[in-house]
């Protein structure tokens, strides 16, 4: 074997690589397409977490949609106030003040208050646990606390406390990524305006809920009767508060015998 047997292939492939590199570099200049310069400007002011809560594949896709007019500048819940103002400025619109949103886990049945059906020892994932008899809690709508939402949160705002997911309102941006992955569908994105919220989604009747959990809504309708603005309705054996009507007076929370109506902070 001669040294040229090695050198020739190396030379040819190096030449090929350089040739392709140069051709592509030139081509990228020649074929450069003018992109609307507002798209990167808008993208800069989005959070950049690529959470997908807005329904687009990422912040870049949303930025393009905003510039093209397919999405409202407020489409991103996680956007900071300054960022939103900048986006409105770029788009030549008047600044919109965002309603701060946050995620809320509508379950208060932690390991002390809710009863379990079986001991779950499988993959640490709510979606997996949900497939085994609808989860390890007796309540079919209870938070299983296996942390699928924790993994989905790009802002590190959710933690598992006493076996249920708890959202840190200071870190939560309201993007909605957790609500999308929760197999129980009990995480809601709510406006933070000093309103109240029912921390339960149990659709079983009062007697059954009472057996399953000491803090479940038993659909007694006391809150419904005491609400001065008729913001509370009891449907499917569980109370829910209309966030648009709620004035935050707190009477429902006072009267609730189960103490599961909580103030959103």
């Amino acid at each position: 074997m001669q040294i040229t047997d090695v050198l020739i292939p190396i030379g040819i492939f190096a030449a090929l690589g350089v040739l392709f590199g140069v051709v592509l570099a030139i081509a990228s200049r020649i074929f450069a397409v003018k992109v609307d310069e507002r798209i990167p400007a808008v993208q800069e002011n989005l959070p950049g977490a690529n959470c997908g809560g807005c329904g687009y594949s990422g912040c870049a896709a949303l930025a393009e949609a905003i510039v093209k007019g397919n999405a409202a500048p407020t489409a991103c819940n996680a956007c900071s106030e300054a960022g939103l103002a900048k986006i409105c400025e770029i788009m030549g619109m008047e600044a919109v003040k965002p309603t701060p949103m946050r995620a809320y886990v509508k379950c208060a049945g932690n390991c002390h208050t809710a009863k379990y059906k079986y001991v779950y020892e499988g993959a640490h994932d709510c979606i997996a646990a949900e497939k085994i008899g609808g989860g390890n809690k007796q309540c079919a709508n209870g938070c299983m606390g296996l942390g699928t939402c924790v993994a989905a949160c790009k802002f590190d705002a959710i933690s598992i406390v006493d076996g249920i997911a708890v959202v840190d309102p200071h870190k939560c941006s309201g993007c909605g990524a957790c609500a999308a992955v929760c197999p129980k569908r009990i995480i809601r994105i709510l406006p933070v305006t000093g309103n109240y919220v029912v921390a339960c989604r149990s659709v079983e009747n009062g007697a059954t809920t009472r057996k399953q959990c000491t803090v479940g809504c038993i659909s007694c309708r006391i809150c419904e009767k005491n609400c001065p603005v008729n913001a509370i309705t009891v449907n499917d054996f569980v109370a829910s508060i209309d966030q648009d009507k709620c004035i935050g007076c707190g009477k429902c929370a006072e009267k609730c015998p189960r103490k599961i109506i909580k103030k959103l902070d």
Binding site: I8, P9, I12, F13, L16, G17, F20, V23, L24, A27, S28, I30, F31, A32, V33, K131
Partner: protein
């Protein structure tokens, strides 16, 4: 090779020697992007486009660069390099001059940069000692076979979406079983002697 032979070769590449069902190339996009018929067709179009062009280019690279220097053993490396650069180039070209096609192919174009179906079609062309015209025809026909397979499969999957199978079969297991049945149906073509 006469025109008749080329046509026979193409027929064989589409149905008898189907890339997915007979040779098991390109199974990844076959399972990955066959959720909806229109995205499957988009993927098929992108593969057809790249395979046809790469068939021609890799043939030239092999014929004029690798063979004269006795570097046939490096063809895999060379083809990957050529195909990757080619796809990049095509992407830029389309973006500038045919934006409609660019947005129709979308993400699928860069995805198939290192698709094994594209690489294997280039390797098969060399293996079978095809001429330039045959190489282009083979690349095109093999990609049409791929498109046919993925589109038919996506059609089946879209119909199955509303079916109510036993829980254990739901989702991917049923998808794989369907792919197996479809492959068996295609295996009937292997009886066609050409």
């Amino acid at each position: 090779m006469s025109i008749g032979n080329v046509l026979l070769m193409m027929f064989s590449a589409v149905l008898v020697e189907n890339f997915i069902f007979a040779k098991f190339y390109g199974c990844c996009p076959f399972l990955g992007v066959s959720e909806k018929p229109d995205t499957a067709l988009g993927m098929g179009m992108a593969v057809t486009f790249v395979m046809t062009v790469s068939g021609a280019v890799t043939w030239a690279v092999y014929e004029f660069l690798l063979e004269p220097f006795g570097l046939e053993y490096l063809k895999t490396v060379a083809f990957i390099l050529v195909i990757a650069a080619l796809v990049q180039f095509i992407e830029m070209f389309l973006r500038k001059f045919i934006p409609a096609l660019y947005s129709a192919l979308g993400i699928y174009l860069p995805l198939i940069t290192t698709n094994c179906a594209v690489l294997s079609s280039a390797l098969l062309i060399v293996q079978n000692d095809y001429s330039f015209v045959e190489a282009v025809c083979f690349g095109f026909a093999a990609a049409i076979g791929f498109t046919l397979a993925i589109t038919v499969f996506a059609g089946l999957r879209s119909r199955m979406r509303h079916a109510d199978p036993p829980k254990a079969f739901k989702g991917f297991p049923l998808t794989l079983i369907t792919a197996g049945l479809l492959a068996m149906a295609f295996s009937c073509f292997s009886g066609v002697k050409l």
